[in-house]
């Protein structure tokens, strides 16, 4: 069962990062920074927020969206 309720749980910046990641499939922090125009410290904080909520995970140095994350994107 998805644990995310995006409108209640995620900040606006986190939603933007999640949406960007869903479009890129997998990405580094730098690639996400380019895609969102956020700086890398903000990307790092938002990825941590998303990872704590189970929406993204790190694989081989890149970030990928989880099934819960994909469900959350549909509601953004």
């Amino acid at each position: 069962m998805p644990c995310l309720e995006p409108d209640k749980n995620l900040s606006e910046e986190a939603k933007k990062v999640l949406k960007a990641l869903s479009e890129l499939k997998s990405a580094t922090k730098t690639e996400l920074a380019e895609k969102t125009s956020f700086d890398t410290p903000l990307i790092s904080r938002k990825l941590r927020e998303l990872a704590e909520k189970g929406a993204v995970k790190e694989e081989n140095g890149k970030f990928v969206i989880t099934d819960d994350g994909l469900e959350a994107v549909k509601k953004i």
Binding site: T30, D39, T40, P41, S44, R45, R48, E49
Partner: protein
């Protein structure tokens, strides 16, 4: 004392983001790729501290243009930072991240924690984009620091990072003379640099 030229210890702590009016956890390593000024001070709502934080706030736009991020840090909570930012005229211009270290964990890690007062002394750390410590300044709490000198030092470190064969002499400012340290000028530095240059 933390050694210049060595990687700084990472930390995670709660921080207040004045522009957003909210608190969030930060990790120092999130800032890799940027120059960072980590600036400890004794306490919110005190006397020299607001003058220093205000000076940093007035210089922040210049620092941002130089690719520098500022993290202030005290043993106050994020709630204290929030109210200080909202109520103090000198703190209202602050846009940079205000780190909170109520347990003293970060201050101890950076060896600026004063056990007797439970606060941090005035410690300022310049950290390069690779997380390497480039400069440290620690002052007793009754004297405030000079932001102009901070900016000058960062410009000098940025210059030598881009020109690794060069060194910057005393008081160097951009546009002034630099030189390459070479055995040929050992004992004869006056041949390549004069005090008035």
């Amino acid at each position: 004392m933390l050694m210049v030229g060595k990687e700084v210890p990472d930390f995670e702590t709660e921080a207040y983001f004045p522009e957003e009016g909210k608190s969030e956890k930060i990790k120092l390593s999130d800032y890799r790729g940027k120059w960072v000024v980590l600036c400890f001070y004794p306490a919110d709502f005190t006397f020299v501290c607001p003058t220093e934080i205000n000076a940093m706030a007035r210089t922040y736009d210049e620092l941002k243009k130089m690719g520098v991020e500022v993290i202030s840090m005290s043993t106050d909570t994020v709630f204290s930072h929030k109210v200080w930012h909202e109520t103090s005229e000198l703190i209202k211009p602050v846009k940079f991240v205000m780190g909170a270290d109520p347990t003293g964990k970060v201050s101890r890690l950076y060896e600026v924690y004063d056990e007797e007062s439970g606060t941090a002394v005035r410690g300022r750390f310049i950290i390069d984009p690779d997380g390497i410590l480039r400069a440290v300044e620690v002052l007793y709490p009754n004297v405030g620091r000079n932001v102009k000198e901070l900016v000058r030092q960062i410009k000098a470190f940025q210059f030598v990072r881009e020109h690794p064969d060069q060194v910057t002499p005393a008081g160097w400012e951009p546009g002034k003379k630099t030189f390459a340290p070479d055995m040929k000028i050992a004992g004869k530095v006056y041949t390549v640099w004069k005090p008035e240059e």
